[in-house]
């Protein structure tokens, strides 16, 4: 139709209709390309995250024996939690881990970011050194630390021996094991969080800092009234990110599995390890699913509270 009614003044459209749509088509091509690049992740999210979460919610109403048999039990899996002492112990371990790990990781990685923010000789090397732990598999991290922390003979025991602490067993003493995990996790994650902070710091306009300086603000004041407020979205992301990471055991799970398997005396038995045990050691997959939904609900609640509390880290007047 277009070709027959097209006025002579638009011959290009007649003979080369594709070309005429070129601007829109380019946009569309770009959009298509974007979708194509996103597709693997989106499909992955749906298949490996969204779907399992929905299924987990359903499975939580069944007794699942691990051999393909399902029996509907209603809310029994949820009711079981009330009297499950070990669950509460595991939640306590997880809670302790989160409230120590998140602030320490935050402060350490922020301090690192401030430290390596300005260019100096060897900056690349320093940044890489801090980031390096993050690219190593956690299993390898575990093996390295096991070697460093081993009773009596580890490098760290040797370092501490002059202080009379050569006999301390960091991973074999219940009161120390979790703290040791916190420190190893901080060491592991600090490079990644440092990068996030660095990215945030890049977004702080230099002119604002300069202007403050001209107005007579000292270094602390520049930090307190210019940099810090502008970093709120970054800080919010880091806190939520590391809280979720800590609860779901992203840092701790592999380490715990490699190093102490939840011991000594369940001192490092986190809630995710407990869920894993319920599912794969005890074959209580329905109960594990119910526990999972509770943990996810807690995380959503936690994140929601943080969001409400900080308005998502947005700036005050937005």
């Amino acid at each position: 139709m277009v070709t027959t009614t097209a006025p002579p003044s638009q011959p290009a459209a007649v003979t080369r209709p594709r070309r005429a749509k070129a601007p829109a088509s380019k946009k569309r091509r770009e959009a298509l390309a974007a979708y194509a690049f996103l597709a693997p992740d989106v499909i992955g999210l749906i298949v490996f995250v969204a779907l399992p979460m929905v299924l987990a919610f359903g499975v939580a109403f069944f007794k699942v024996d691990g051999f393909g048999n399902y029996k509907y039990v209603g809310l029994a899996n949820y009711q079981l939690m009330g009297s499950d002492d070990q669950l509460w112990a595991a939640l306590k371990v997880t809670g302790t881990y989160v409230i120590t790990f998140v602030p320490i990781a935050f402060v350490v990685s922020f301090a690192l970011a401030m430290l390596v923010r300005n260019h100096f000789k060897g900056i690349g090397w320093v940044r890489s050194a801090f980031f390096l732990p993050n690219v190593v598999s956690l299993v390898v991290v575990g093996l390295i630390w096991q070697f460093l922390l081993v009773d009596k003979r580890g490098a760290i025991s040797n370092l501490l021996a002059p202080l009379g602490l050569g006999d301390v067993s960091f991973l074999g003493t219940p009161s120390l094991a979790l703290g040791t995990y916190v420190l190893i996790s901080v060491w592991f994650l600090m490079g990644y969080q440092m990068l996030v902070f660095l990215a945030g710091l890049k977004d702080v306009p230099k002119e604002l800092e300069d202007a403050a300086e001209i107005d007579g603000a000292n270094a602390w004041q520049r930090f307190r009234f210019v940099i810090w407020p502008l970093l709120r979205p970054t800080s919010f992301f880091v806190v939520v990110n590391s809280t979720i990471g800590a609860v779901t055991g992203l840092q701790a799970f592999d380490l715990v599995y490699v190093l102490t398997k939840g011991g000594p005396a369940r001192a490092t038995s986190t809630v995710v390890l407990y869920i894993y045990e319920q599912a794969f050691t005890f074959n209580n997959m329905g109960y594990a699913a119910a526990l999972t939904t509770v943990v996810v609900a807690m995380l959503v609640l936690c994140t929601g509270l943080m969001f409400a509390f900080t308005r998502g880290g947005r700036f005050d007047e937005d």
């Binding site: 995250v49 691990g66 051999f67 996810v296």
Partner: protein
Amino acid sequence: MSATPLSARPHSPARPLSRRSVLRGGLGALAASAVGGPLLTACGGDDSGGGSGKELSFWNFYGPADDANPQSKWFVDVAEKWNANNDVKVKLRYIPSKDYLNGSTLQTAFQSGKGPDIFLISPGDFLRYYNGGVLQDLSSALPAESKSDYLPGLLEARSVEGKVYGLPMEIEPLAMYYSESAFEKAGLSEADLPKTWDQTLAVAQKLTGDKRNGVMFETLPGYYQNFTWYPFLWQGGGTPIKDGKVAFDSPAAVQALKFWQDTIKNKVAPRKALGDGGGDVLSNLGSGAVAMQQSGIWAVSDMRTKAKNFKYGIIPLPTPDGGKAATDLGGWAFVANAKGANPEAAAKFITWALGSTDAEGVERQRQWNTVVKTNVPPRKSVQTAADAKGAFGEGVLKKFVSEIAPSGQPEPRFPPEVYQPIADAIQACQLNGTDPGKAAADAAARIDTFLKTYQGAPIS
């Protein structure tokens, strides 16, 4: 998970959680690790489980391994030999031991109905799989002469109501290993080798220094730790369950818990072992980190291949005053999946591979038990053949067979609900200073609660 060979100690979960894509990876991995995994395996398309009626999948943690080590080669040879003479072929699938022992590979496969046709099982897992209805009765495929060739007790531990559900491939007793050089350096001789718990603590004291602990027991929680602790319970006449009722709250349990606690309290034993822990003699005794270490017969072949010049000896596990000698006999078994593609053929393969009483079958067993690995052979004919070759003629292996194994009991087949309270009691006393009497009572109460509603096969 008992009697784990060195090469088969667990390291980590099968499903390493994503590290950096925290927001999505976190929740997803969590959901997936709990239930998503099993349900999704159907979409995953791993068809090596189940298999067709013409091909049987055999999941194991030995072979075919990349380095084609002798133990791997033994598995490959067995499968090849079978395949050469049978229409239904056996296909090996190697699963790294850390995934096999502590991972979710098998669990997710069974949950999605795609479990292997043939697999390896430890006593601690027997009831879980039996009660799940996936163990195939091997009795009809097992000839009478083969059945009577097994040492007493071994098949019973893998049977329910007289039907055999697993054939053991080995017997792995536990002993106390000691380092000759550590004893020499401490000015001690063979006469000082401990026979009682009190002597053990006293000798360990003398052997303990700045860089060395006198004695070592497993400290990592798990089936393996329980397995290594039971002998000390049995020595005092204790048992966790008797006639279907809990019997854990006993003086024998309390004193056994206290003995392990004392080794830590007196600072003569490490709170955390090196390498892969209690079963890893190379990393602990071999490195000089400990002077005495409780471990199993598998360590003999480990030391043979990797620490030829290290001088060590073994003694039976020390007993309490007035106690009787005891050791735990571990060992893995072949089992068939009753819900597999061709359970009858799988049963035939297993009984052929491990139970054949002809010359070739005996030789195959002799190879596994005394050449590629060190075990006590589970069958009389194989023991005779091994003796003829002088396998147990001298040294530590002779001691294992003549002095230690006779005091052994097969590893108990406790379901997770029984194993866990006992594990918690051991851990709490050993590493957290809990009162042994209280720990035993707590564990007994938990086991009692479980037994009141338990409906599966007899626990022993």
